[in-house]
Every structure is written in C-alpha cells, then in structure tokens.
C-alpha cells in the first residue's frame, strides 16, 4: 500500500493529511485519487513538489515499492 501525504496548504484545502492507494506507479496513483483531491492538486499543478520516500522526483512514471511514501507539498525552504 502506498501512502500519499499532503502538506501545508494542500492538506488544509484537501481536508486530509494522507490517503492510501494500492497502486505501484506514481502517475497512476495520482490519477486514482478522489476527484476533490485531484482538483486541489490541479489548481496548484505548476508549483507542486513531489517526493517519493523523501527524494524529489520529476518523473511521474516511476514505480513505487510497497510501503512507499509519496509527499506532495508546495514550495518552501529555509531554516
């Protein structure tokens, strides 16, 4: 099972901090998200940062292992 976590404003707008999906390819996992979640992600599409197991990915076609964690957030930084 893959956990897809949402952070910050995405979490607030979606109303959930994560969903679990049983898909092993990232693009497909994102396409299978509920419509209300997809709507929020599409709204901020050009800003989204996607991490797979803590590593930034720019390739949505990558495979996901069992127990992978996908984090989706808006840009931020600093300390």
């Amino acid at each position: 099972m893959v956990k897809v976590r949402f952070h910050g404003a995405l979490k607030d707008e979606i109303g959930l901090d994560h969903v679990d999906v049983n898909i092993t390819q990232l693009a497909e996992a994102l396409s299978r998200l509920p419509d209300n979640i997809k709507a929020v992600l599409e709204k901020y599409e050009k800003y989204l940062i996607v991490l797979v197991n803590g590593r930034r990915t720019y390739d949505l076609n990558i495979s996901l292992g069992n127990d992978s964690v996908v984090d989706i957030m808006l840009p931020l930084g600093g300390g």
Binding site: R55, R56, P75
Partner: protein, 644 residues
C-alpha cells in the same frame, strides 16, 4: 555625506564615562563595506584585538543598519548586532526584525557603537540628536516584556526598545537581546555583552528623513518588487507557506526528507511531527504581522487560551524554536512549546541554544552520565516537559546544574566530563541549528565554515533542500544541476555554500531579510545591483562584479577576524554524531556527512589554502584587505596561491 540612503553618522556611547559623540562615516568605507554587518565588521576589527575579553568594557556592542533600512526596500526592517561572542570567543552577529532599525536611521545614525560599563544599571534613550542615560536600577530583574512595557509607558509608544532579561543580566552565555515584544537577536550571547555593561535597554525614536538619490527610479523598482511579491512566480508559494503558517511550515516538509532534528539530533524523522507543525500551530494564532516594509508577513503570534499553559503568548514560535524545544526533546505538546518559547523570550534566552543544551543534558541523563541528584532531583527524561521548563528557569537563574549549562554546551561538557562531549552538539562553541547534515549534506559545510559557529543563517542553501532546478541552473550552470540539487551528494556543495555565504554577506550589509533571499530565492546579486544605485547614487553598486567582490571582501574579513582570535581550520569540524553515526531512521536512513570534499571545494572557491587553513595573501590583496594581511602575518605565514 554625498551618498543617499545613509544617515552618514556613527553614534558612539561610552557607558563608563557617561558620554556620547558622533562621527561622520567615511565614504570609502561605505563603498568597500556597504553598511550593516559589513561596516560593523570593519569597525569591530579595529576596535578589538585578540586579548579583548567578550565581557570586558572594551568589547563594543555595535548596532548597525544598512542603506536599505527605513527606505521601503522590501523586507528592510532588519538590523544587526555585532560584537565578540562570550559564548564562542569569536565573531558574534545577530539580526532582528521589527521596527527598531528604521528608528535608528530616522534618528540620524547608521550605526550605534556602545563601549564601557556603567556603574549601575542604565538604559540609553535616543531621541534624534538627544541621547540620555536613564537610571534603570528599578528595571533590573524585570523580564523583557515588563521592561518594554515600562519604557514605552514612560516614554511613549512611538519608541522602540531592545532589552535584556534576567538571563542577560546574569551573563548566561547564550542570552539574547529582545526587540520590542516578539523579535530577538537570538544567537551568540549578545545579551550577556549587554549585561556585562549593565545596559538594560536601548530605546530609540527618530523623526528625520532618509534621502533617496533618485526617488522616481527607486519607486519604479519598488513597483517591480511589489509585482514580484504579489504576482511573481514565488508569490503564491511564499504566501501559502511562510505567509499562512510562518516558518513552522517547514516542520513536516523537513520530516518528509528525514531532516527534522529529533532527540538531540539522534535521528531526522519523528512520527509525531504533525503535532508540532505549522498547521497544528494555526489554531493558537491570535495575530499575524510583518516587519517594516515587508509583504511576506511571516510573524505569527500564538497564545494558549486554556489548560496548564493558559496565558502563554509568544511571537512565533519559529521553526528553529519549535524544533529545539519540541522534536529535539521529544516533546509533542504544542502548548508546552509555546510556553517554553515564551519563557525563553521573557528571560531573554536564545531558544536554539537553550533547546540544544537541554537535549544535551537529557541525553547525558539517559546515558547515565549525570544523576538525578546532580540535576537537583529532576528526571531529565525525553519528552518530560516539566523537566525542560524547570531547566530553562535554572539556566536563566543560574541555579544548580543551570549554572553549568548557562555556559553553553561546549563548556558544560568540559565541566561534566565522562564522555559527555559526544552529546554536546556544537561547532566552534555555537550549538547546532535545526538541520542535519546527514540528510542535507551542504549543511555540514555551512556549519563548519560559518563564522559564528554551527549557524544556518550565514550560508544555508535551499536550492538543494527540495531541489530548485531552475534556480540552480541559472546560478551555477545546467551541467551542475543534478549534483547541486541532490541534497545527498557532496559534489558542488562547497561551491554553492561559498556563493550563498557571499550573497548573505551582502544581504546582511544592506540589510535585507533572508526571506526573499534564502527562500524564496527572489533577490540575487542582479536585483541588488538594480536597487542600490537609485537609492544611494553609488554607481559602482550597479555593477554585479563589484558587488560580488564587495561580498567576498566582507565574508573574508569576518573569517579573518576569527583567524586573528586563533580560531581556524582545526575548528571547522562537525560533531561525530553527523560524521560517524549513520542516520538511524527515516528517509535519510544510513547516511553520514563526509565533510572533507565539501571543505576542500569551499576552500578552493574561497581562495584559501586548505592545507594551512589560511587565506592566500594574494586573495586578501585582491579584495583590498591589505591591512588584514599585515595583521595576520604577525601570527601566521600566509601562503600565496602561486607558490609551488
């Protein structure tokens, strides 16, 4: 002075003699050092030497503004405090936001230099040209909020105040200087410098104007800045992260990459991070504000309305404080964190150092290196918020074990002995900040080379934090992007740290906020080259190459200051936790930090000799630091880059 944007004067105050005087600032110094911490570095170099004790009357406290201060430049409310640090014995620099910096400029001074020691507690009141020494015996012992209330109550709300609390009065080595209610000069123990002078507060009101060289052109650029902040590519992300949540927006993101310091930096991932996140803090927010001339508005004020910590009110807490007092101690009760942050502010303590000193003693207790008796009956267990709160009070009041901890983690480990040094996480005596170089390798280089010690604000790079490829390509070239943006490789990290150190040396001299320059990366050298000429009339400031050279000069001067104190290459190390202990859990599991390749690369780009840890003499001459080379050569044999 023919330059605009500056008041043109330094105000000197001698507390020993109860006297003050002014001096015009030389224009060649402005061109060479800009202002802010750059100019302060030049002044400090000339005002102290290696035998000046940080708590002696001779050690100056330098309060400095830059040319952008008070002029509506973006995020230009910050100002700097510079001295020799009582915690580390080397370069001390801290910046605070708010509204006090512009008041100093409006009063007619770019810089305030305070020396000496008063016979009794005193405050300095500056009202344009009038400077008074105000007997503050009745204020001594008050917390910082009551101090600000008293002073504003007597003088008027149009005064802005910087002050110390009981921790600074007791010379706690990491005591802070608070500005008004919610801003702080946190790091390096500048509160103790003030305390050593029996200086309780400085209150300033200024009513003069600051002239701009070309107001029409300047306003055009301000319009451009307005667009950048409201509609530019970073506008929405900045508003949805920093604007909405303040800096704690970083908590869950850093946890997601395994870089959230947890349990004295034992690991970088915590299952309970959500409980102390920016989102969790939102329900406690009672106000949101900004510093002078800032559109990001990252200052959030939080308050606990009920329960055990009812009434606790705090500016922030900021990300660094949430981590230092939260995940670092395994404390997940956000209300306790708000309370502890408030306590630190009231006492006048640096939250970062305080948190790391407490986590040090927690780990010592866990490992059996200190006993309950030695801690005055405290159970210093992970997650024990009552113990953490009591330790904050003991440190501020120098009671029991607090008296040892008040010296900082390096000295505390020396006093305790018994291998406690392994858990004393510092570089050059400054406790580490809320990053982890095992999960973000460039942090290791940043901490090691930073002139303050383990510091995230002299050169923290964000291009590799979450991978901002376009910025990396623009600044370093498309061929380097993959390595630059990979937080888990060492390659090119020396380069990006050096570049960031130069940028921040300039930014800290202007003075602009790191939010806008560190992240979001809206303003770089080219932007600074646009804004400075119409502000100041100094044509050279419009040349990016000139600005880069100036930035390098300032960065080198600060590094040489430490060299003159005898602190050099041997101190550019990391605690063994980060080099020898693989990250045990989380997304960055298994990683350590290999400092050496990054340091070598940094030295190469910096024009310093890695083998000796010294600057090449020709580097200093190229930068116009001949006077520094002359002085260093009394102590060191400076290499030359063309030596065989």
């Amino acid at each position: 002075m023919s330059f605009k944007g500056y008041a043109g004067k330094i105000l000197y105050v001698d507390l020993s003699r109860g006297k003050y005087w002014t001096q015009n600032i030389r224009e060649d110094l402005i061109k060479a050092y800009v202002g802010g911490s750059g100019l302060a570095a030049y002044l400090l170099w000339n005002l102290v030497n290696e035998s000046t004790h940080p708590l002696s009357p001779e050690n100056p406290l330098i309060v400095a503004t830059g040319p952008t201060t008070g002029t509506l430049a973006p995020s230009s409310g910050r100002f700097t405090l510079v001295s020799k640090s009582p915690l580390t014995g080397i370069w001390a620099e801290s910046h605070a936001g708010g509204f006090l910096g512009p008041q100093l400029k409006y009063a007619g001074y770019d810089v305030l230099v305070i020396t000496g020691r008063s016979d009794k507690p005193v405050s300095i009141i500056i009202d344009d040209d009038d400077v008074q020494f105000y007997d503050s015996t009745s204020l001594w012992g008050l917390n910082t909020r009551d101090t600000v209330n008293e002073i504003k109550g007597r003088l008027g709300k149009d005064y802005h105040v910087m002050c110390i609390g009981p921790a600074g009065e007791r010379l706690v080595k990491f005591s802070s200087v608070m500005v008004d209610y919610y801003r702080a000069f946190g790091r390096t123990g500048l509160g103790a410098v003030m305390g050593s002078k029996r200086l309780k507060a400085v209150a300033i009101r200024g009513t003069k104007d600051v002239e701009v060289y070309d107001p029409g052109k300047y306003v055009e650029i301000l319009d451009e800045i307005l667009w950048i902040n409201k509609e530019g590519p970073w506008a929405l992300p900045a508003q949805l992260s920093l604007g909405r949540y303040g800096t704690p927006c970083l908590v869950t993101a850093m946890n997601a990459i395994g870089r959230l310091p947890t349990k004295n930096h034992w690991t970088g991932f915590w299952e309970e991070a959500d409980k102390i996140s920016g989102e969790a803090l939102l329900r406690y927010r009672v106000a949101r504000g900004s510093c002078f001339s800032c559109m990001i508005m990252c200052k959030h004020v939080t308050k606990v309305d009920s329960g055990k910590y009812e009434g606790a009110i705090s500016g922030g807490p900021e990300y660094e404080s949430v981590v230092a007092l939260g995940s670092n101690l395994l404390i997940s009760n956000i209300e306790a964190i708000i309370y502890m942050n408030s306590l630190c502010n009231l006492y006048g303590l640096d939250t970062i150092s305080t948190g790391k000193v407490i986590s040090f003693i927690f780990e010592c207790y866990e490992k059996g290196l200190v006993t309950k008796d030695e801690l005055g009956g405290l159970e210093a267990l992970w997650g024990n918020e009552e113990a953490a709160i009591e330790l904050i009070k003991m440190i501020a009041e120098r009671r029991g074990i607090g008296d040892i901890l008040a010296e900082g983690v390096r000295k505390a480990a020396e006093a305790i002995g018994r291998d406690s040094w392994k858990y004393a996480l510092h570089v050059k005596g400054l406790e580490v900040s809320a990053q982890d170089p095992r999960a973000h390798k460039s942090v290791g280089c940043t901490w090691a080379i930073s002139v303050r010690g383990a510091d995230h604000l002299r050169s923290l790079t964000t291009v590799d934090e979450l991978g901002y490829r376009e910025i990396a390509a623009e600044r370093f070239g498309a061929d380097k992007v993959n390595d630059v943006c990979d937080r888990l490789t060492e390659k090119y990290k020396g380069l990006i740290v050096k570049d960031q150190e130069d940028l921040f040396a300039l930014v800290d001299s202007l003075i602009l906020c790191k939010y806008g320059t560190m992240w979001p990366p809206m303003y770089y050298f080219d932007f600074i080259a646009k804004i400075l000429p119409p502000l100041t009339g100094i044509k050279e400031f419009g040349d990016v190459k000139y600005l880069r050279l100036t930035a390098e000069r300032i960065a080198n001067l600060k590094r040489c200051f430490n060299l003159r104190e005898g602190v050099g290459r041997e101190s550019e190390t990391l605690p063994s936790r980060f080099t020898d202990e693989p990250m045990p859990t989380g997304p960055s599991k298994g990683h350590t930090c290999n400092l050496d390749p990054m340091l070598r690369e940094y030295y190469e780009y910096r024009g310093w000799d890695y083998a000796t840890g010294l600057p090449y003499e020709d580097t200093l001459i190229r930068l116009g630091l001949d006077y520094v080379a002359i002085e260093l050569k009394k102590r060191y044999k400076l290499p030359r880059s063309f030596d065989g």
